[in-house]
């Protein structure tokens, strides 16, 4: 019973975190692709706003992760799942370089894509579906690679 309650509490915290994250994106202007592109357009009429979004988020994040790193269990008693990989490899660099191309083409990255979905934007739906197909293609390529190397 206690475990069941804990699971429910964890779900409620996850839902609340997603909700607050979404509010932040809307307030920050990150949910507006035109504003994201105006930030990326250094040679045009540059809107530096999103630099401040990153700054504000990281200022709070630095404090939170300093606390989180010292803990083995979360405040709900769940194990801390922080990444431990420190190797900068080709996958990380080329994946991220390519991500910037996709982001720069339309001004949408994964989190705001779901906010656009919630707004009911048809274009948001198209982006999210394509993104999920892209992630599916990644899984397929990875499983082909695995079965090929065996």
């Amino acid at each position: 019973m206690k475990r069941h309650l804990n699971n429910m509490t964890a779900l409620i915290f996850a839902l609340t975190s997603g909700l607050i994250f979404g509010f932040g994106l809307i307030l920050a202007g990150m949910a507006n692709p035109a504003k994201v592109l105006a930030f990326l357009d250094l040679a045009g009429a540059w809107d530096p706003s999103l630099g401040l979004v990153m700054g504000g988020a990281i200022a709070v994040g630095l404090i939170a992760f300093t606390i989180a790193k010292k803990r083995h269990l979360s405040y709900l008693g769940l194990s801390m799942q922080l990444p431990t990989n420190r190797i900068i490899d080709k996958r990380l660099v080329f994946g991220s370089l390519l991500f910037g191309v996709g982001w720069g083409l339309v001004g949408i990255c994964p989190a705001p894509a779901f906010v656009l979905l919630g707004i009911g934007s048809m274009k948001g739906v198209i982006f999210v579906v394509a993104m999920l197909i892209g992630m599916g293609i990644y899984e397929l390529l990875e499983s082909c690679k695995k079965s090929g190397s065996q």
Binding site: A10, F13, A14, L15, S17, G18, L19, F21, G22, F23, L25, L27, G29, N32, P33, A34, L40, A45, G51, L52, V53, M54, G55, G56, A57, I58, A59, V60, F65, A68, L76, Q81, L82, P83, N85, I88, R91, L92, F94, G95, S96, L97, F99, V101, G104, V106, P110, A111, V115, G118, K123, G124, I126, F127, A130, M131, G134, M135, Y138, E139
Partner: protein
């Protein structure tokens, strides 16, 4: 380079950033997880029963945010100029590349830099640079 002062919104940007930071803080301190959308979604492709709930809950929160927002205030302007075809291409690229790069703006850009992770700092530099270059090419070289 010149700054577009008319559209520069420093206070709402900073406040929005702080709210995003608070959401990430809540998630890591209570759920013990990184609020990285790529990682959260990626896990749904290799589902483990105990693992699906919180992933879906976070995503539902993101989708629900504009609904709840509208109960209290009108949504700000949302403008997507890209064509449907370009959105589909960009979506595919973003889906594949974020999985290869193990993260996106949220996981690397916000949480990763906050953790002072060298991987995330390099990843963020990488996607910012190609983001800038892509917009330069599309807007100023191709003139779209």
């Amino acid at each position: 380079m010149f700054i577009d002062w008319n559209n520069f919104t420093p206070w709402s940007a900073l406040a929005g950033g702080v709210v995003i930071g608070l959401a990430s803080a809540l998630f890591v301190l209570f759920n013990g997880r990184i609020a990285g959308i790529t990682g959260i979604l990626g896990g749904l492709f290799r589902p483990m029963l105990r693992d699906i709930g919180w992933r879906l809950a976070f995503i539902i929160g993101l989708i629900g945010a504009p609904f709840i927002w509208q109960l209290f205030a009108p949504l700000p302007d949302i403008q997507i100029d890209a064509s449907e075809a370009l959105l589909a291409v960009a979506g595919l690229i973003v889906g594949i590349s974020t999985r290869y790069g193990s993260g996106c703006t949220s996981g690397h850009g916000v949480c990763g830099i906050s953790r002072l992770s060298p991987r995330s700092i390099w990843a963020t530099l990488a996607f910012m640079v190609t983001g800038f270059i892509t917009v330069y090419v599309v807007r100023h070289l191709l003139g779209a």
